[in-house]
Symmetry: C2
Subunit: 432 residues, 2 copies
């Protein structure tokens, strides 16, 4: 039987980027004009346009008053959650809460000169919108990852949009988590229409200040467009990806399982194994054929294997280098000296250390956030964290004495910039 | 003599937004297609296209090797800085350093369950690009505000682009500050071409991970476009603005001077005075005519007065409400109970408290950053701060024992999402 994936031996460094990321940029803009039209119509016609898109794309014919999920539906959803799942979800929420609570940043106050006090304080963003895709799986874990820090940060209004599934329903797990995590309202609408509704506001759906959450390329385009116009977004998000760094000490079975876990997300997921061990590379290559047989989402995996890579490199230094070049969303490090290697990593969303830190732990329950920068954006973006739901305001108070100390400095600089009204605002106070 | 500005008494709350922000959105997109073409040409043709734009827009005919500012030019620049200005600049840098050093965030480590350890650590963004506009004044203060935190954060490469002035030169103050603050290279190029060069990289100018700095509407459009494609940006930035909240305790002369200091920035600046004191409103209205006479940048001020407002409101609560609605870049609070009022503020870039905290202090030297969200973006964005130059990476390590504690939780959730390869990545480890 043929192998599903080839092993690439010692590729030239100059070729790494193209080998892993392909030739094109990050976002497919093909559908930008279609998305622009959806945004424009919802901005101009509110609910009327929104309901027409819900009919076309989500395939349900509802009135504006039916956009919002009712109390009764939440109750029904709760009744459908097994005790086992309820327990698991509550544990996950508890861990996510613990880790994100630790991210609270204290207010800062510094007297930079006598009488000149500068403060920085964190303030929650008032209204936030969470988007949960429908797609092939009910992603209730993403509800936890977004709503828990939003609530912890103190956001006053948390709304959530998600499309109905093929049966015309929102998955009960999504509603259960939304309720548990303190989401104020859930609306049944998906895709760019949901993003537009939260960005511009409609009669039924409130305008929010920042939108969070993953989605397909239409949703990503919509988020990018509104972020240039009226509403902040968490990050540019694309297909999910993992890089695994491994040496001879790694367990090929574990690595193969992590590789495949990434690929079942969807057709456009990507997994990359970079290893110094040719024999490990071969073992994983061969195990893929075995392990894949046991899985239900083979269709996605066969497709996403095409973008995936197994690369053999010559040293631990090169493993670090290729990770920093690729800037993976998820980075698993299974080498003997994994802690040392992790210290060399500058670009990654979330790192998983050693043989027992499977990515699934961070996807669901360990406490770290799973909403992470993809497509190389980890070079400059953080994953979603508590601070994503706050903004920092600076505050200064200068006493009369303080202005005497700093006044001349300000005036000198203002005159040098040719801004004499700025200088005047100081002199008028000093001459008092 | 006629008044330059009318007083608006007790406007309806529903009208506040339009009264202050006008009818239109935030960014003028008129020139988007022209900017797109510049980006495309530089992405595809590098230096060749870049130099043609430098010729057209910056009006200098140079070779690629002359884009970078030479050591000799830095030396010449230094020799032109007076002792007085050098002293002022060094004090400002020292204060900005003090305040931004205090913003360092400690790494976090939390054991969320026995054997499940989650960490968050800050890592500097590798390569950053600073943009300093040419325009009507040599904005060397912005060099300080961007380069000091970039250097403190530990960015490995800091480059700066700025256009030459009418004399074909970069202001010596800009070069002096760039050198002093640790900028690695300065390139003489302005406008969207500079943004494109830093985002995509050319033969002469390195590709960076994130671009910071203000600019005109062309620069803003370029920054927004590249932020959707390849390179992060600090924030959507537009014309500068101030809101002043005042009551009878305020000094009309001081407030008038702050009002005018804002307006001298450019034709599209905006100042808003909101006060509970009709007599203060009238005094400021009248003082504007006097104070404006002493200023050199009257042309800008007459123009930007058109967008500016004096509003009389009925209570301190309304002052806080209108500030939160407007979400000003700068907010000056000159009321008797200014500290209490400041506690009510949720949306603002930077706040200045009491009669002696002129905005000019924060513009230049107190220590706070002057690169702040405008156009209402303070609802969701922070001003530039130390964290703007870092990203947070999460790291988790789960022991074999830890996986026993959390494994079942992960599996239950993974199966409920229909992701059995995720569950398998746990079971394969637990069954070992």
């Amino acid at each position: 039987m043929e192998n599903y994936i080839n092993i690439i031996y010692n590729p030239q460094k100059n070729d790494w980027k193209e080998l892993l990321r392909g030739k094109n940029g990050q976002t497919d803009k093909t559908n930008e004009n279609g998305v622009k039209l959806i945004l424009k119509n919802i901005m101009e016609s509110g609910d009327k346009a929104l309901l027409s898109y819900v009919k076309i794309f989500d395939n349900i014919n509802i009135k504006a008053s039916e956009l919002v999920v009712s109390e009764k539906e939440f109750e029904e959803a709760t009744s459908k959650i097994s005790n086992e799942l309820s327990y698991a979800i509550n544990c996950a929420i508890s861990n996510v809460k613990k880790f994100h609570t630790a991210q609270k940043s204290p207010d800062i106050s510094v007297e930079t000169m006598p009488g000149v006090t500068c403060r920085q304080k964190s303030i929650p963003i008032g209204k936030v919108g969470l988007y949960i895709p429908g797609g092939t799986a009910p992603l209730f874990s993403t509800v936890i990852m977004l709503a828990v820090p939003a609530k912890l940060a103190g956001c006053k209004e948390i709304v959530l949009c998600t499309p109905v599934n093929k049966e015309g329903k929102i998955a009960p797990e999504v509603l259960y988590c939304a309720k548990l995590c303190g989401v104020d309202k859930v609306y049944r609408v998906g895709g760019p229409a949901a993003i537009a509704a939260m960005a511009y506001g409609t009669e039924s759906i409130p305008k929010v200040d920042k939108i969070f959450g993953p989605g397909n390329s239409y949703v990503t385009i919509a988020k990018q467009l509104i972020s240039n116009d009226i509403c902040a977004i968490d990050m540019p998000a694309g297909p999910s990806e993992v890089m695994i760094l491994a040496d001879d000490s790694a367990n090929a079975q574990f690595i193969c399982a992590d590789f495949l876990a990434q690929l079942e997300h969807g057709n456009d997921s990507q997994a990359v194994l970079a290893t110094t061990s040719p024999s490990l590379a071969k073992q994983v290559q061969s195990l893929l054929k075995e392990q894949i047989e046991e899985l239900s989402r083979k269709g996605y995996i066969y497709e996403s294997l095409k973008k995936s890579r197994i690369v053999v490199l010559s040293s631990a230094e090169e493993l670090a280098e290729i990770a920093n070049e690729y800037a993976p969303e998820h980075l698993i490090i299974c080498t003997e000296n994994y802690r040392e290697l992790a210290e060399e990593i500058e670009n990654a969303g979330s790192i998983f250390l050693g043989n027992y830190s499977t990515e699934s732990a961070g996807d669901y329950a360990s406490g770290t956030n799973h909403t992470l920068p993809t497509g190389g954006w980890a070079q400059s973006y953080s994953g979603v964290n508590l601070q994503s739901f706050t903004k920092k305001i600076t505050i200064q108070e200068i006493t009369k004495e303080g202005l005497k100390n700093i006044g001349k400095i300000i005036q000198t600089m203002a005159y040098a910039e040719g801004l004499d009204a700025h200088a005047k605002s100081v002199s008028i106070r000093m001459e008092e």
